[in-house]
Amino acid sequence: MTTLYLNVIAGGILIGIVYALIALGLTIIFGVMRIVNFAHGEMVVIGMYVGYGIWSVTKIPPWMIAPVAALALFMLGYALQRSIVNAFIERPQHAQFILFISFALIITGLHLVLFGPDSRPIDIIESMQSYSIGPLRLDVVRSQAALMALALITGLILFLRQSMLGRSIRAAADNLIGAQVIGIRIRNVYSVTAGIGMACAGAAGALVAPMFDTQPFLATDFTLIAFIIVIVGGLGSLTGALLGGVIIGLSEALAALVFSPALKTVFSYALLTIVLIWRPNGLFGEQSR
């Protein structure tokens, strides 16, 4: 029984790290621009199609494709921000909601037109393999995805702390007016931030593609999971997104084991409700500015 619990906990942590990468994209966009990206799950699905497409042609392992998917989605996010979203920054929140919901519907519609409704599995030998470490059996695909996600998260944190552009992003998030006063080009910061947020979604998409067969209708699930994580962790908090991902991954796995697998999602929502009552700003969230 201990082995069963250990395996389930390990599996929950591994998928939680990938969830954290998805949520990180959502939280960084909100933290800097105070915009909620309702099309975040759709960006993850674009990443899945990028992963599937590159794998189909090259047979490169999907975890290696993640940086390419991140780059593709960075460019898409940057272009979308510069061309459309920047114009909506000062507009009322409902206008922003409608804009992102439109993005979501358009992306899903395009996926349906381009690829059809069928699931597209990545059939690799690793999908059937696991690492044995003592009593632990770690899913190979999940382990590779979690390691790559962790590497990307570390890289992102280093970028935000060490680079000039990263510091500008943090400055804009901390004090928008102050950042403008010292000459930071805010529109440019917004575009880079949108690119980074969507790059996180794209990379995560490529990483989950071998686990969840790619199809257009997965987007809502990813958007919901990202929202649960960032609300539990605290909107705008990087630490919150990271730990929130692990907490949700772990709680879903344990809920399935201890109670009933059919209650996994219910358990996540219950956790969300408890956090909202107990700490409305999330576990690591700050008071709204």
Partner: protein, 407 residues
């Protein structure tokens, strides 16, 4: 300056009746002699799109075959319920407004009930090709004709096949664990298994029942839980995508029970399953209604379907094919495109020569064909083959299962 038009109560009622008469009644009723418009409601997109697309191929091939056999002119209009049960009614109402005088569908119990409500309201016959929830024929619908076994019958026959397996192979499993999808279909089959298991006195103890969400993308915990029971048999009640997830997890967790036997659910016999899993998909057994491969003509139809429609002639395709043959037979006998005439003809259906394993196609007072049999399939060399009963079998069952790590 403007002239006031006085409208009295009778004029309003007359206009209302006119609107109802011309708007709700299908246009086909008024276009006598034209091809019969048949509305086909399926899940053509969404999570169950694969089954819907496969069913559509069966309907299309059925149309080609019926035409070649001198059937009446039929025009099929497809409606997509987008894998959402509640959409069935909306799509059916639209098809009825478009002039369809017969409905065929769906490939899911939830949407079938939803379509049946629309068919009942408009008095349009509804020929059910795939849906197993028992309540469909128990709600007093007068327009439905189901050529698919209800879950209770399906499970009853399936359990008998499972019980026979021990006797025919000489290997008696002692325990089983059920892993089932938590939706109308999964719950229906589960309840059926529980009832019949006791009734038939199967000497196998069901040690645990594990349910999972219909939209689950990860079944690692569910499989770990099932493995921990140490059961001899795994009895999955699935659809194709979750059946694939279960086998992948079993391979990863190195769990090879004595057998994997589905007591009546889709998944293992579908092309998507065998293509995705290759050698790991072999050995999986399922008890389902199926075409009789030993019957003259049935195998030829299956071979031709695979050649012309680029797909496997599986349960979905075979029942969709047969629904069209039933429709063609009824329309021919009715000699009309009037819904009432087609309904009357469907009620007196009596087709002895057909491809599905079982007796003649006839509908009882509830609209159910009670003569559909169940076979046991097993995937062998990447294809489903009938292994039981003897009068339909193509190969011998491989039991116990070859362990995954020995393949």
């Amino acid at each position: 300056m403007s002239k006031r038009i006085a409208v009295n109560r009778r004029q309003v009622l007359a206009a209302g009746a006119g609107v109802i008469g011309t708007g709700i009644l299908p246009r086909g009723v008024r276009a006598h002699g034209a091809p019969v418009k048949i509305g086909v409601i399926l899940y053509l997109s969404g999570v169950q799109a694969f089954m819907g697309q496969q069913t559509r191929k069966g309907n299309e091939f059925g149309g080609i075959y019926a035409k070649e056999a001198g059937g009446p002119p039929m025009e099929f209009i497809y409606g997509d319920a987008e894998s959402k049960p509640e959409n069935g009614r909306v799509v059916a109402e639209r098809l009825i407004r478009d002039g369809c005088t017969l409905l065929i569908g769906t490939n899911d119990s939830g949407s079938t009930i939803s379509v049946a409500q629309a068919a009942e309201a408009a008095k349009i016959p509804f020929l059910i090709n795939i849906a197993s929830a028992p309540q469909i024929t128990e709600q007093g619908f007068t327009q439905i004709f189901r050529n698919f076994p209800p879950a209770t019958t399906l499970v009853g026959n399936a359990v008998i096949r499972i019980k026979e397996l021990g006797a025919t192979t000489g290997i008696e499993p002692k325990t089983a664990v059920i892993l089932h999808v938590n939706d109308t279909f999964g719950q229906g089959i589960m309840k059926g298994v529980d009832i019949v298991w006791e009734k038939v006195k199967v000497p196998i103890k069901i040690v645990e029942r594990i349910s999972y969400d219909v939209h689950a993308r990860d079944l690692s915990v569910e499989v770990a839980k099932a493995k921990a029971t140490g059961a001899d048999l795994l009895m999955p009640i699935t659809r194709v995508s979750d059946a694939i997830l279960i086998i992948r997890e079993m391979v990863k967790q190195n769990w090879s029970p004595m057998g994997i036997i589905s007591p009546g659910s889709p998944g293992p016999y579908e092309k998507a399953f065998t293509d995705a899993l290759g050698k790991y998909g072999d050995g999986y057994m399922s008890c389902v209604p199926w075409y009789n491969p030993t019957k003259a003509g049935a195998r030829e139809i299956a071979v031709r379907f695979e050649k012309e429609m680029d797909g496997r002639f599986d349960l979905n395709a075979a029942f969709a094919f047969e629904a069209v043959q039933i429709a063609a037979d009824a329309i021919k006998r009715a000699n009309s495109n009037e819904p009432a005439a087609i309904h009357a003809a469907l009620k007196t259906t009596d087709i002895k020569d057909h491809i599905i394993y079982g007796g003649p196609i006839r509908f009882n007072e509830k609209g159910q064909n009670p003569n559909i049999g169940v076979v046991m399939l097993q995937n062998q060399n990447g294809r489903p083959v009938v292994v039981s009963p003897a009068d339909a079998s193509e190969a011998k069952a491989v039991f116990p299962l070859v362990p995954f790590d020995k393949r």
